[in-house]
């Protein structure tokens, strides 16, 4: 039992993460409920990337991305899978390569341009490193997506959409959880409102993601 549970009121906020909105970093407190509910929401999306019972998924992210990455970690547990972690930096790319070789993950989430660059700086071929998980890689930015596509690895996009995540379901189209979020587009930008309870509410939050909402649950990028 934690000290907080035994002696104190548990802190209302599980942690303070951040969102990048209009080019500015905004502190974003989330609750334990938010994390657990996001994990529930993300589990089927992680499963669609090929993660199942007994598997391991490697999550490549930064601690500042905790409000997006931790739900994926917990989602792995809901699927009966383990996870491992590496930083999404050039200097930690060696760990990405090492963990893929040693732990043979079923999927890798969060590869970004910095990691691809870091692998190259190590004298390693990203295509060779990631070949074992080809078709089961979700990228965190366009640089990595374009690069890994060029290398024939068929990556999917993992996009931070406000405080939740959206996943590429077919080329150029993202899926998000319409049971918890209401998305629409305003002047070519996706705006987001929470319909499930969240500690920090979103009320038509301008996410910075460019696209249109052709129907609930889908975003056409661009």
């Amino acid at each position: 039992m934690t000290f907080a549970a035994a002696y104190e009121d548990a802190p209302r906020a599980w942690g303070v993460g951040r969102l990048l909105l209009d080019g500015e970093v905004k502190p974003w407190p989330v609750s334990q409920h938010d994390i657990d509910d996001e994990a529930e929401s993300q589990a089927p999306r992680l499963a669609s990337l090929g993660v199942g019972p007994g598997d391991l998924v490697l999550i490549v992210a930064m601690l500042s991305e905790a409000i997006h990455a931790v739900p994926l970690e917990k989602a792995a547990g809901k699927l009966g899978a383990l996870y491992s972690s590496a930083d999404a930096t050039p200097s930690d790319a060696f760990r990405v390569a090492y963990l893929i070789r040693q732990l043979e993950p079923a999927a890798v989430v969060g590869v970004n341009g910095a990691v691809v660059e870091g692998l190259r700086d190590l004298g390693r071929d990203p295509a060779e490193i990631l070949a074992a998980v080809a078709g089961h890689v979700a990228t965190a930015d366009d640089v990595a997506c374009d690069e890994l596509t060029r290398l024939g690895l068929a990556p999917r996009r993992w996009v931070k959409l406000g405080p939740t995540s959206a996943w590429e379901e077919e080329p150029g189209t993202l899926g998000y959880d319409q049971t918890r979020w209401d998305a629409s587009d305003v002047d070519g930008e996706i705006v987001l409102t929470n319909t499930a309870d969240r500690l920090t509410p979103c009320d038509r939050l301008a996410t910075g993601v460019r696209g249109q909402v052709p129907r609930p649950g889908r975003i056409a990028l661009g």
Binding site: S64, V70, G77, S84, D87, Y98, Q102
Partner: protein
Amino acid sequence: MGDPKRRYFSPEIETKPRERIERERDEKLLGDLLPWAYERSALIQEVWSEAGVTIDDVTTMDDFHQKVPFISKDTVRSFRDRHHDPYGGLLCLDPEMTEVFSAIFSTSGTTGDPTPAPYAGRGPSMLVREFWETGCRPGDHFVEMLFTFRGPGIHDTIRGIGATPVFLDHSPAEVPQLVRFSRELRPTAWYNLSGPLVLALEQHVADTGDNLAEAFASYRGVIFAGEPIGPRARHIVEDEWGLELFVQTGVGDVGAATECREHDGCHFWEDTCYVEHLDPDGAEPAGDGKRGELVATTLIDKIAPLVRYRSDDLVRVTREQCACGRTHGRLWPLGRKGDEVVVGGRSVLPGDVWAAVESVPETSAGLFQVIRTAREVDRLRLRVGYSAEGPKGLGDLRARVTDAVQAAVGVQPEVELVENEVLLRQGPPHKIPRVAKA
């Protein structure tokens, strides 16, 4: 509500009488940890078998000291490579037991390949005791400035004292956010500060003129970890920015030891580990307060237990009661055995030249490496990072660094100068390798 004014997080453990600490520690080691590890760890079985020792031979602490063989990082790596076992034969449980494990993390990889470590943690770690000692209290914000590869143990520990973690990357690029979040959220503790971050904060001040004493006024304690802090950096952090530093060091990969508010050694918790400190070249105890090699045995890690693990860390150790009232042992990190060079019979550790390098303005970042081709060398070779060439060029700078080091250690060094960035790129983000082979 609990009493936020109380001094200790777990007073009944932290101030337990020595006699009880030692009795319970020995019972846990001999009666629980050793039989568990011997029965399940392939590495322990191999090493003990080679030494002709079985668990039945170890029934007293004297037996433990006289018969139990040492292991080291090299022992673990050798097992890993020979048996193609990424866990080096240490695992006592199947890592695919998802009802037990949630994740597999890895060590920093500073001195070689990272070592994977299955994680079964649910809830706070023992660090709640030191996090409480920083002065952070329930309801406060606590800056967690770290990496992802060590897992969620620190988030859970911060929440374990009733505080809320504020997530930041352990990166120089995060300094503007750190300063901003410090002003907006007024956190009271921060884990952790490191040498590269001190440099980045200094650069931030130089670039912006920001007043960090004001920005950081809410902090009651900051844990400094990764590697030792040099005297110049300590002066800036403590005297100019007004932060109270709590130095933390590792306990042979089985835990951590952290200063209390007395700042007189780093407390290690003897309900979690058994610490020996021995002659660096042998097996005899080094003696209370004397320099020796830290040899650690876990008392609580049932997943991948290390038993008599020679850490390569040189430390002083005492079990005298601290002025803070805690009765557990304390240690002072002195350097790494593998970092020592002997030049003309004189022992030199990185810590011996640190202040000298910092004393020259252009190399004041204290970024340097000892070039160690062997333990005993003819010349002391240093690679030193500089921020600017200085008014008279690199030749003059090299001469000033050489003179400063010679004055400090009595040995004339051969100094190679490189730009600071060259050394910082050799990270991980919180430290640089202090020894290079070439």
